[in-house]
């Protein structure tokens, strides 16, 4: 099981699905952000797993995963900054309240 | 006169553009100067076009004074102008009506004169370009250029409901013309696919001998037809016309009726039929029926119009029905008549709109029911109005008659019953025009007009100058229609040959 790529990939898929659910269902901006982090981690898991199982890619997978982490960090930074900025305006972290622009 | 060395066609097409640029750099408060510059430019272009006519080799079938330069060589698109008899008469019509319209705008247009004159001159560029372009892509560009200034002219200087009217006009026209663009590109590609080269893929002279295959021909014809039919406008694509006319300023109506509708007719004659002869021939029956409907329907609806301009607009639908009828019977007399009818309609309807404008300037109203008894107060005006009213109902001796008669004649050869139906318009036409004239001009001066007091003056000098040339043209073309018929005879023969109907179709011989 731990030697099967499929297991890791299924794990990744499940994590991705959970993250997706969180993103679609949660109202809080930060919860959504966390869901995205889950999804990115799912991807990272897949990448590392591919690296570990596909011939000759072990290091490449690891490197890519590192980059993805960095990007995730950057996204988190920006995202939280925006959340804080909008919280100052609206005094609520609930994203579905931000609907003054529509149609 | 030898003009082969000069790019006279380019000079004619882009002359007004230079004028527009000059005006663009004039200060806007110098309205009088701007007006005169516009007038002089349009007169110069008119003069050039007359020179062109004098130098034209009448009777030659094909294009003369061609100018050709590679433009987008990757797709074989050229800057290609040329003129034959059909183009020539329409160019003359355009240049003539343009200066008349500009002159007619001197008084009524006092707001944003600069923009107005620029729009008008650019409009002229577009119209002339359409008549002279021999490259389909170039043609399309000119075709669309026409839209913008007209959109502005109606939308800015028009009547109270102008925005609805102008948007309707533009959108309606766009729907047709954009599909035509698809068709132009499709035909070009079909040429390229068959010939393996883009050279000539947009070239009219090449394409008209190419012969597109059946399905493409049908679809492309329909696309072209839609664009032109909307412009003409053929029934049932005509409803933008009354709205546009009612809202347009006088000069706008003059050009709209006088030249813009001809763009559609010209397109059918020049492009739709010769490029897609098979499809044109296959669909001719439907076109003829639509034309007949337009002729009768337009006239009947004109009868009950309460507004002078709407009446003239519906009469245009009816009159342009003759043009399309003349085209699609594919018959020498009919087609020559159709072209003559285009010119006549341009002159006469243009003049009628000028006449309506004269009343409108004084009364700010065009409701027929409010008029009456103008003959007593403004006899000269009543006379001129009557003259054009008679010309419009096809009085022999004036220009309207010959074109109409030739179309009838051609139709009769095609089908006496169709001719009989079309000819009913002789009665209805007389009815609505004379009824209108009676209500406006005859009788006692209406209370509404009385209330205007001394504002109701007879025609002034500018108006006289704008109308007199049209009177002269109406008479000239009525008495000497050969001036135009001779010019278009050879090209018409060619076009008919392309559809497979040569000259000499009189029955029984």
């Amino acid at each position: 099981m731990s030697h099967s790529l499929d297991a890791y990939l299924i794990l990744s898929a499940l994590l991705f699905a959970i993250g997706t659910f969180g993103f679609l269902a949660r109202r809080n901006a930060i919860a959504m952000l966390m869901s995205i982090e889950l999804m990115l981690n799912a991807v990272n898991l897949a990448i590392v797993a591919f690296g570990a199982f596909v011939p000759g890619l072990a290091e490449n997978g690891a490197v890519i995963a590192l980059f993805v982490m960095a990007v995730a960090a950057g996204e988190a930074t920006v995202g939280l900054a925006i959340v804080i900025a909008i919280y100052r305006n609206r005094r609520t972290p609930l994203v579905d309240e931000y609907s003054s622009m529509r149609e | 006169m030898d003009m082969t060395g000069l790019p006279i066609l380019s000079a004619i097409v882009f002359g007004p553009l230079i004028g527009a640029l000059v005006i663009a750099f004039l200060p806007r408060q110098e309205t009088q100067l701007i007006r005169w510059v516009a007038l002089i430019v349009s007169l110069l272009v008119w003069g050039l076009s007359i020179l062109l006519a004098l130098g034209f080799q009448s009777g030659a079938g094909d294009f003369q004074l061609e100018e050709k330069a590679a433009w987008i060589p990757a797709f074989g698109i050229n800057y290609h102008l040329g003129i034959d008899g059909i183009s020539l008469v329409l160019v003359l019509l355009t240049t003539t009506l343009t200066w008349i319209s500009i002159l007619a705008s001197f008084k009524p247009i006092t707001d944003r004169v600069k923009e107005y004159m620029i729009s008008f001159l650019i409009l002229e560029v577009g119209m002339l370009g359409v008549f002279l372009a021999l490259d389909l892509f170039l043609f399309y560009i000119f075709w669309e250029i026409v839209l913008v200034p007209m959109y502005l002219i109606i939308g800015i200087w028009g009547g109270p409901n102008r925005i609805y009217a102008t948007l309707k006009f533009v959108l309606y026209t766009l729907v047709g013309s954009l599909l035509m663009l698809v068709a132009i590109l499709a035909t070009a590609f079909s040429f390229q696919a068959a010939q393996g080269t883009w050279d000539g893929a947009f070239d009219y002279l090449t394409l008209r001998t190419f012969g597109f295959d059946g399905t493409l021909q049908l679809l492309a014809f329909l696309a072209f037809f839609l664009a032109f039919a909307i412009k003409v406008p053929m029934w049932p694509f005509h409803t933008w016309l009354p709205d546009a006319h009612v809202e347009a300023p006088t000069a706008g109506s003059v050009i709209l009726a006088g030249v813009m509708l001809k763009l559609g007719g010209y397109g059918l004659i020049r492009f739709a039929v010769p490029l897609f002869p098979q499809a044109a021939a296959d669909l001719a029956g439907i076109m003829i029926v639509l034309s007949l409907i337009a002729i009768i329907y337009g006239a009947i609806v004109a009868m009950v119009q309460p507004d002078l301009k709407k009446l003239v607009a519906y009469s245009s639908v009816s009159h342009m029905g003759f043009v399309t009828l003349g085209i699609f019977i594919f018959q020498q007399q009919g087609l020559q008549g159709a072209i003559l009818q285009m010119v006549n309609h341009g002159v006469i309807t243009g003049a009628l709109f000028l006449c309506v404008g004269v009343i409108y300037d004084r009364t700010h109203d065009r409701t027929i029911a409010k008029m009456g008894g103008l003959a007593g107060r403004t006899p000269v005006y009543a006379m001129l109005f009557g003259f054009f009213m008679l010309a419009s109902l096809g009085l022999p001796g004036l220009s309207g008659f010959v074109g109409e008669f030739l179309v009838f004649l051609g139709t009769f050869v095609y089908s006496p019953i169709a001719a009989g139906i079309a000819a009913i318009v002789m009665i209805i036409g007389a009815a609505y025009l004379m009824w209108m004239y009676q209500r406006v001009v005859f009788g006692e001066l209406s209370d509404f007009l009385k209330s205007l007091g001394h504002h109701l003056t007879d025609i002034n000098r500018i108006e006289l100058v704008t109308l007199t040339p049209l009177v002269a043209l109406t008479l000239l073309l009525g008495l000497f229609p050969g001036l135009i018929l001779d010019l278009v005879s050879a090209p018409v023969g060619q076009i008919l040959a392309s559809v497979g109907h040569g000259a000499g179709v009189a029955l029984g011989r």
């Binding site: 099981m1 959970i18 919860a31 797993a49 199982f53 | -």
Partner: protein
Amino acid sequence: MALPSTVPYLNIPWDDLVFLALAGVLLGGALLVVLGRDIIRSGLWMILSFAALAGIYALLGAPLVAAAQVLVYIGAISVLILFAIMLTQSKAAPSKLVFHHQAWAAAVAAVFLGLILIVVVVATGWQVVPEGPVAAATQRIAQLLFGEYVLPFEVVSVLLLAAVIGGVFLAKREEDETEDVGVDLSNPPAVPPLPITPPALATGIGSSMSRPAEEP
């Protein structure tokens, strides 16, 4: 003492047991993140979940990635998120306002997406090395980072720099914060700024789950 090659009684290899345990923690933590009502606890569950993932990375033979996971996610991102939660959340969190009313649809979509992904994963014949996960040599990673991947490496640094610059700008409080000048009137705030959510209001909101926004 040498351990048996398989787990006693369960008869599965030890590494599989570790994998299962870690996977369970990972998924369980993740589920608690998305389902938990208290956002702060969600954040904590996330940390646990990430830690489990680090373990899986190690299991996959990528210790460097595992270390980075601990450092970056647990050390930086999670803490950042917790700070943000503190900043934007009053103590009495509106616990009932966790889920959007489309949650059921979201669940369906997520399940469907997960199923598709699993089916695809299973159906694909991945070209894998037969002998399980291959360990990534750390030295080789370093070579790659500063050789073949030097451009991405630099780009990532630029990316982080850009993120920091922007983040600082957006998050920092201006000196004249209290004043209301400089607000772009071209976009008049359609929703008047709410006061810091008082519990009473919050419960009031809670009854309707998703409150329609005020009309502009």
